[in-house]
Structure formats: C-alpha cells, structure tokens
C-alpha cells in the first residue's frame, strides 16, 4: 500500500494530515567493516537492510528487536542523524534524504529524539537551563534571553520538574529526573515527531512507569507521533498502537499491538513473545516456551533467504532460496515476512 503512495507521486504540496507522517521506503544503512593497515573495506554491516515502514500522524509505532538488529540505527537514519546508504524517508511527503542543509534544518524543527541516557553525550558543565534552552538557540525560537528563560521554565513544568532546577547540573539529578530533562529538551522545538530510543531501559523499575505515563500524557496534549524503540516488548506493547518487529536489519512483522500479541505470524515474533517473562507465577509456570537455538545471525554475512531460518523451528528448504517480502502474509494491516507463518 505505501508503495502505491510513492508511485502516485505524493509530494509536499499534496500532503495532508490524513496521509502518513513518515514513510520509509527500501531504506538501507550500511557501515563499512575495515581491516588491515590500509583500512580497506572488507565487508559491510547491513545494520538496516531494506526497510519499509509507515508512521501515521498521532500514533505510537513501537519498534522491537534484539541487540544489534538495527532498530537504533533505523531510528537515527529516519532523523538523518546517521546518513542512510540508500532509500527514501518521506516526512510530510518530502524526501528528507534529498534535502539540502537549509531545508533539512527547517525540517529538523519538526522532529526530536529522546535517548536512553540524555546526559551521556552532553557537557556536564552545562546547566539544565542551557541543555533545555540549546535547541531554542539553534533554531532561533527565542528572541530575547527573557523569552528563552520563560520557555525553559514552561518546558520543565511540562515534564514535572520544578523551575528552580534551571541553574543546576546533570550530576545532581536522579536517572528519572535526567530523563525528564531529556524529554523537556526534545519538546523545546515543539516537534510533531519524536524518536524515543530505549527511553526507560536505564531506569529503575519504580521510575519507568513515571516516564511512560509522562510520554503518554505529552502525546495526548500535543498530538505527538512517536517511534518508540525498545527491547522490552511488555513496555512497547503497553505504549504502542502498532508494533514493527526487526530481525537482522529487516522488519519481519508489523501489526497493531493487540493483534501482534494475540496472533503473531512470524516465528521470530512468536518466540520473542513467548520468551518475555510475565510477572505472575501462576501464568508464567503454565506457559509454553518456544526456545530458540543458537544466536542472532551476523549482519555482515546474513543467511541467504530468510535471515531467521538458521534459528527457526519452521524452516523449510524454500526459506533458504528466496527472501520472503514483508507482505508475504497480509491480514488487513497485519504484515509478516514468512512463507510458513504461525497462522
């Protein structure tokens, strides 16, 4: 369905709020593997390897997968924080990958990112006021110093932090408070679209719910669209309208959150779901587990055909011969890249 939209020449002028906010087409992001004294390229890490994805305005699309599956690279490639190798990323109908720096800069005002640890990459000598206010400077969103201070206080208030925090430094904060600062910074540009990359995984269990509820509240208030990347499927299912499952650089299944849980089609999704422990001994002890053999395949030399076949309990010779496209299984909005789905 999205392919038709591209073919029909969806462009900025024809884009309306009913159209997908973000459309990702055949996106690839490869990283060279270098070796030897001359650092010659000896291979490619196919971190993102031909991904199609649609994100609708106002929804939360969850993106799950195990470490190294390419989900973070995909999130960053969509925002062009990492330069993709090929493909298309249309934001409000415009192809971001073919945009010049000035246009890209205007576009950036509409999007933001929330990181696992927002302070990992920031100057510890910056105050919270500087951190949250920086995007306002970059995009010239505050004319006077006074305006900037007011906006920063407003943002801190939105995320539940006292405005007295503006002059304090990151190290004075707990993990949960830091993540609130990270969220305030993301909101500074008044974005439409936010990529949340593992926003709660580094937090204590008792703090995770605070941040999840805050993200949901903000979404409702500002009609935000989220791409929510996480490895914890329980969290993703709770917050997402739809979920995409990634395995070794590919999206292997996408569907509504409820349907993905109730009737997963791809064997990988099925095993992933069955591996998530449920905090209830009576439920947990009666569950059937699909235990996978072996480890995740290498993104440098992915297996031929379906990349999951080396661990799959349903694999047949056909799976090694050709790669099943994402719409091999199509149940309405529910797509899965599998020749022998769970059904």
């Amino acid at each position: 369905m999205p392919a038709e939209a591209v073919a029909s020449g969806l462009s900025a002028s024809t884009w309306s709020a009913a159209d997908p906010l973000v459309e990702v087409r055949r996106l690839t992001t490869w990283f060279p593997v270098r070796s030897g004294v001359l650092a010659r390229t000896v291979g490619q890490v196919r971190a993102v390897d031909g991904v199609d994805l649609t994100i609708r305005q106002g929804e939360t699309l969850g993106l799950v997968g195990e470490s190294g599956c390419g989900k973070s690279t995909l999130g960053r490639s969509i925002l062009r924080l990492i330069e993709p190798t090929s493909g298309e990323v249309r934001f409000k109908g415009q192809d971001m990958l073919r945009m010049g720096p000035a246009a890209m800069r205007r576009m950036r005002r509409d999007m933001a990112m929330i990181f696992q640890d927002p302070f990992g990459s920031l100057d510890p000598r910056q105050t919270v006021g500087d951190i949250v206010g920086e995007p306002l400077e970059i995009h010239h969103l505050a004319r006077t110093r006074r305006q900037r201070q007011e906006r920063v206080r407003e943002l801190l208030d939105l995320v539940g932090l006292a405005s007295s925090f503006v002059d304090r430094y990151p190290h004075e904060f707990s993990g949960g408070q830091r993540q609130r600062v990270g969220i305030a910074r993301a909101l500074a540009v008044d974005p439409t679209f936010i990529v949340c990359d593992e926003p709660v995984s580094a937090l204590d269990v008792s703090i995770q719910a605070q941040i999840i509820n805050l993200l949901e509240r903000l979404q409702e208030k500002f009609n935000l669209t989220y791409l929510f990347i996480a490895h914890d499927l329980s969290v993703v299912k709770h917050i997402s309208d739809r979920i995409a499952v990634m395995y070794v650089g590919k999206v292997v299944e996408v569907s509504s959150a409820r349907e993905l849980y109730q009737s997963p089609q791809h064997p990988y999704t099925g095993s992933l779901l069955s591996a998530i422990p449920i905090p209830d001994p009576t439920v947990e002890r009666g569950r059937e587990r699909i235990l996978l053999k072996g480890d995740v395949a290498s993104p440098v030399n992915p297996p031929s055909g379906c990349r999951f076949r080396t661990r799959c309990f349903k694999a047949q010779p056909r799976c090694a011969e050709s790669e099943p496209p994402l719409d091999t299984v199509r149940l309405g909005d529910h797509l899965a890249a599998c020749y022998f789905p769970l059904g």
Partner: protein, 333 residues
C-alpha cells in the same frame, strides 16, 4: 531442628565512603535450602548485590561485615580467614555476574578457565580438567564443545559467554550458586535459554540457587521463594506464589502494579510509584518506603516496623500488620 544450607542472621554490612558510612545491608536474615531457588528482588542500591557479596566475602575494599552471622552447612563463615573463604568459594559456592566478559580472562582459553578450579582445588591434572571443561560445556548447552574450549573469550557471543561462566561456576559441583542479574545484559530469547538451563541444573543436581534480579517476571518463572529488599532491608519474604498473589508490603504491591504486563489487554495509565529510590546517606525516619508509600499512616514516619508474619509470609509494614489488605484497597496509588 533441621539445618539450612545457608543461613543469614541479622547481617549488617557497611560501606565506608568519603561522604560517610552507608549501611548497605542493614539487618538481613534469611535462609536457603538445598535444591531451592531463592529470588532477591530490589532496585539499584537496595542492598541485594551487597548481600550476595557479603556471603561470598567479595566485598569492595570499602565494605565490611559489621555484625551478624552467615552460616553455611553449619559453619560460621564470618570468622573464616581469606584462605578458608577462597577454598569454600572454589568448591562449595560459586557466583556468576551480570557481565560475563568481566569475569572471563581474555588471555586464557575458555576451556582452561573452566577447568582451572579443578586443578586448584581438587588437584586434577590439565588433561582431566580439560575433559571436565568439555563435559561442562556440553551440560550448559555450548555447541561444538571440543572446538569451543580451545577458543578465547572474545569470540564468544553474550549468551555463550554467560554459559561459559555458568560452566566455570559449576565445575566443582558447588552446593550453592549465587547468580547476580545473570540475564540482565542478554536478549530475551537468550535469557529464556539461560533461565531454562538454570532451572534444569537446579532440578538435576540439588544445588541451591540465589537469583538476584530486578525483573519480577524472572522471579515468577523460576523462584520457589522470594525476598524483596528496599534500602538495605528485607521488606517482604515468602513463597513466590503468596507474595505475588497477595503482596503485604506496599513497595512490592506498587512494583507489581507499575510494570506493564505483556498479557494485559488495556492501555490504562500505569500505577506510578512516586519519588525516587532512597538516598542511602539520608534515609527517612521510620519506614524507609514511607515517603513514597500510597498507604502510609501516621505511625509510619515515626517508628520502623519489624518483619512480621502477615497472612502466611513476612512483611515489614504497619498497615498490613494491623490487618489491612493491600489488594482490597483499590484506589491507592
């Protein structure tokens, strides 16, 4: 009276830091019996790892067991010399950690490392210890064991390293295995494999396991009994089914209500635990959870409750000890 495999009695472990003394383990008592899996749950700073390190006597330099007794097979360990502890750690107790890469030595072949405890503690020769390592690799599910023992740790994936570390811990057939967040760094499909392995080892060998984790789902899956720690104290203790079915400490209750469940079919906002984990340098008066507690009454910030029996298991809470059931009070939180 039957003897427990391991018994802690009012253990206090302090950390002396520049900023002051932290009472990391503050009067912890519990026991573990042969063949059972005991879970210890808590957030960072709750004292769960320090409790384990106190048992193993692997505390950081700033740490010291100040008082209390740790009895293992009837022997009082706190009076043991470093040499005596070394012998016990090598043969009767083993510990595995969250990050296997920090426990495997990168310059030695994995097979040699896994067999080494046998050479040191049992006087086994190199050839026999390597054969034992191969057998252990097979037992923990490492494929191509004969080839793998000759490899160095860096070629092992996360799941394989964790298996190798478990193998290393198990070579001398210890009676107690302490696993500190053994699956936290692993992907869920690998986590499921490792938990399955621990469950089988437990059943087949009669070894006791203490599993330290922050993941209540993992506890629900493999622990017979569970201890919940908060601010260096045990706040709840009991059979896993009982604690999950009717938590009698508000911290446990709140944790169970704040985590999204995969099998829940609603998108209600999660019940939130207000505030942050406690600052161990500045603990509140009375019950340590009281500032974050949705059930707190007047007494809670004045006196600290003891760990007492409430409906069949132990809880440190004035409210439930007075007869109130947390599950009945729907609007809390």
């Amino acid at each position: 009276m039957s003897l427990h495999l391991l018994e802690l009695d009012d253990v206090h472990t302090n950390l002396t830091l520049k900023a002051g003394v932290v009472r990391a383990v503050d009067g912890v008592s519990f026991h573990v019996d042969a063949g059972e899996t005991l879970g210890i749950v808590g957030e960072s700073g709750s004292g769960k790892s320090m409790t384990a390190l106190s048992i193993m006597r692997l505390l950081p330099r700033s740490g010291r067991i100040d008082s209390g007794a740790i009895r293992f097979k009837g022997r009082e360990l706190t009076g043991f010399s470093e040499d005596e502890m070394e012998e016990i750690r090598g043969t009767e107790m083993a510990m595995i950690f969250q990050d296997p890469m920090t426990s495997l030595n990168p310059v030695y072949r994995t097979g040699w490392q896994v067999g080494e405890p046998l050479q040191i503690h049992r006087g086994t020769d190199v050839r026999a210890s390597l054969a034992a390592a191969i057998a252990m690799f097979k037992k923990v599910g490492i494929p191509e064991a004969e080839k793998r023992v000759a490899q160095y740790p860096h070629v092992f994936s996360g799941g394989m390293s964790q298996r190798a570390m478990i193998a290393m811990g198990l070579t001398t057939s210890p009676s107690l295995l302490i696993a500190d967040e053994p699956t936290t760094a692993l992907d869920v499909t690998i986590q499921a494999q490792i938990l399955d392995l621990l469950r089988n080892l437990n059943r087949d060998s009669g070894m006791a396991t203490i599993l330290i984790t922050h993941n209540l789902g993992v506890v629900a899956g493999i622990c017979d009994r569970v201890i919940v720690m908060y601010a260096g104290r045990v706040v709840e203790q009991g059979r896993t089914e009982d604690v999950f079915a009717h938590p009698e400490h508000p911290y446990t209750w709140s944790l169970l209500h704040s985590i999204p469940r995969l099998d829940a079919d609603d998108r209600e906002p999660l019940k939130v635990i207000e505030g942050s984990p406690p600052d161990m340098m500045r603990l509140p008066s009375g019950c340590k959870f009281q500032p974050r507690c949705p059930f707190a009454v007047e007494r809670c910030d004045k006196d600290e409750p003891e760990l007492r029996d409430v409906r069949g298991h132990l809880a440190r809470c004035w409210v439930t000890q007075a007869g109130t059931s947390l599950n009945g009070s729907v609007d809390a939180g």
